[in-house]
């Protein structure tokens, strides 16, 4: 077994890695190209950073290309991203023509590679028009949408739809996000990487070091919400819940997030939250840079309970991260959180600050239940939301696309490395 797969096997078990090898056997040597718009930063780059090396270790010839654009291109794709998430903001024809031009210019460099590939995965809208510039393509093309498109601004979606409709298939994170198209709409939920900075195991000393740095005491229970300062994450509601708990139990609240510096709305929310928190020494408002992965990891590990009191949420990877650290999560009853927080098993779904307060008190009072739920939470993520599951579903999808729309596909190749009883 190769290095990276070895590392994952130590976490998920050899049987899971064997399973991947068996699925990957018929895909050996296939040329797979992923294309997105950034090498670093953001969830898509994080996933590709692991997915591509893993596909290579499993015998495929996988590579990752990044398109480049100018300020106007990213202005357009940012507007498109927001519109797909429901922001009612039209994009001028001028800007759309520029978006098309940049896609064309990128296709000049990438064309030969993309047209020769067996599978091309285009991530998000930025490179979506590469397909129409590659008329000689021989492989299957899949559009991977990482965005919550459950309530898109229709004019923008209508524009994009005519282009993504041409793909052989698309991938969506949740069924609620999927928009009807004439090709198969595959569903692959996101995942976290247990070897990444944000989720790798940390020593107790390191965790305590981070807590000390922020003046957070280990002697009083800690509840933490990690998310950018955004109204939909309901930071005010979290403080209200904390105050209700505080009336009967000593507790500290950590609200850690970023993105306020370059986002005027985020800065406004942060200001409101600061004002609402007042001078309470047990509320720790931490404004963190986007690459503070290890800090977030330590804060989550040092907490007793993780909160994600969102009023609206896409998938909610901060929930997955909290569960992976063996913490019950008390979270808003919305979006992809519902796939992860199972009442009385991995945490509690709540609909108000009062609901959150009630569950926090319950768990702080019943430490044995808190511990059991934490153990179940980690196991739940281990089985369902790690990158190895994500890889398995990509492999299944590739096999499925090779064999067409059949409901049942039987691979008759001998499997490598399996033990014969």
């Amino acid at each position: 077994m190769t290095a990276l797969l070895d590392q994952y096997a130590a976490i998920v078990g050899n049987d899971v890695i064997d399973h991947l090898r068996q699925l990957a056997a018929p895909l050996r040597g296939m040329k797979i190209v992923h294309v997105n718009s950034t090498r670093e930063g953001g969830g898509v780059a994080e996933i590709l950073n692991r997915l591509v090396p893993l596909q290579n270790e499993l015998g495929m010839d996988a590579s990752w290309e990044v398109i480049s654009g100018d300020r106007r291109f990213y202005q357009c794709t940012k507007k498109m991203h927001n519109a797909l998430q429901g922001n009612r903001d039209d994009i001028s024809d001028n800007l759309l023509r520029h978006y098309e031009k940049i896609n064309f210019l990128n296709s000049v460099d990438l064309k030969s590679k993309l047209e020769q590939a067996d599978f091309v995965f285009i991530h998000d809208p930025q490179p979506a028009l590469l397909l129409r510039n590659c008329p000689g393509r021989k492989g299957k093309w899949v559009w991977r949408c990482h965005i919550d498109v459950s309530h898109p601004y229709r004019p923008v979606w209508k524009y994009l739809r005519q282009h993504v409709e041409l793909y052989d298939a698309s991938i969506w994170s949740l069924s609620t996000f999927a928009q009807p198209l004439s090709h198969p709409l595959y569903l692959i939920p996101p995942s976290i990487d247990p070897l990444g900075e944000k989720n790798v195991d940390l020593s107790e000393d390191e965790v305590n070091g981070f807590l000390d740095r922020f003046g957070i005491s280990k002697k009083t229970p800690i509840i933490t919400q990690v998310s950018r300062f955004d109204r939909f994450k309901d930071p005010i509601g979290v403080i209200q819940a904390y105050r209700l708990v505080r009336k009967s139990v000593p507790v500290q609240l950590v609200l850690a997030g970023g993105g306020a510096t370059d986002d005027p709305e985020g800065a406004r929310v942060l200001k409101e939250v600061r004002s609402f928190a007042g001078r309470d020494p047990d509320i720790h408002l931490l404004e963190l840079p986007p690459d503070a992965h290890r800090t977030i990891n330590a804060l989550q590990r040092g907490s007793d309970i993780i909160i994600q009191k969102s009023l609206r949420e896409g998938f909610g990877l901060t929930v997955t991260e909290g569960l992976w650290k063996g913490k019950p999560v008390i979270a808003g009853d919305t979006g992809g959180i519902r796939l992860q927080v199972i009442n009385h098993h991995t945490g509690f779904l709540v609909n108000s600050p009062e609901g959150a307060a009630l569950r926090i008190r319950y768990l702080l009072k019943n430490r044995d239940i808190l511990k059991t739920m934490g153990e179940k939470s980690r196991q739940f993520v281990l089985e369902n939301f790690l990158i190895t599951r994500h890889v398995r579903e990509y492999l299944t999808l590739i096999v499925a696309l090779i064999y067409g729309s059949a409901e049942r596909i039987e691979l008759n190749l001998p499997s490598p490395g399996a033990t014969v009883s």
Binding site: K376, E407, L413
Partner: protein
């Protein structure tokens, strides 16, 4: 004694597909159920066994869960949950039964139960990829060691998927043991009596393992 043919242990992986159909109220659910892909019926009854799940889920199939959680219709949820898909050889028969239960509920309701926006029922189906694990079983008693090591995908394929795949609607273990000319009829009966529904795949694996243990360890083979 061997009957010559080895038991080929297979495994499977499943990928979910959204059909793009959705229902916001009970009447829409009934209407979509009449026309949706048969694979959707199968998916919402069986495929959730391969998805994120905990022991003792309150309701077994996705229709029942939706009725309870988003239509807030507990009676309907109970009625839908009681439908045992293992009792239906044909998916169309199962489809008719679900529609019948929903029709009955609609006829006795003063209003059509509805879900909030965002809480619609989303129809899904799946593609299943089956592959050879390379594991072979030559003698029935070898299952005593093999079963506990099988993946949940393997249990799904040989015990649940087999019912839909084979003409006799039986699990693969029973079919294979049946070639021993009556020698294992007792074991086959016990295996056939296992209820594959109302459980989780890991519990099902334990139950099958117990049956083989009971047959070969207690009786000495």
């Amino acid at each position: 004694m061997s009957h010559g043919e080895e038991f080929k242990v297979m495994d499977c992986a499943l990928i979910s597909i959204s059909t793009g159909e959705q229902a916001q109220n009970l009447r829409e659910l009934r209407d979509r159920l009449k026309t949706t892909h048969p694979g959707c019926i199968y998916y919402h009854f069986w495929a959730n066994l391969l998805g994120p799940r905990f022991d003792d889920p309150e309701f077994q199939n996705d229709f029942a869960v939706w009725s309870w959680r988003y239509l807030h219709d507990k009676k309907l949820a109970e009625q839908l949950s009681l439908i045992d898909p293992a009792a239906y050889m044909d998916i169309e028969e199962l489809r008719r039964e679900i529609i019948e239960v929903i029709e009955q509920r609609l006829s006795e309701s003063e209003i059509v139960p509805w879900a909030r926006t965002g809480d619609q029922f989303y129809f899904k189906r799946s593609q299943i990829v089956i592959f050879d694990t390379g594991i072979r079983v030559r003698e029935p008693k070898e299952f005593v060691d093999v079963i506990p090591r099988l993946s949940l995908g393997t249990i799904f394929y040989h015990f649940i998927d087999a019912r839909r795949r084979t003409e006799n609607g039986k699990n693969d273990f029973s079919t294979w043991l049946g070639a021993y000319a009556g020698e294992y009829d007792g074991l086959i009966r016990v295996l056939d009596d296992i209820d594959p529904y109302f459980t989780t795949l890991s519990d099902l694996r334990r139950e099958i393992a117990d049956v083989f243990d009971g047959s070969f360890l207690t009786n000495g083979g």
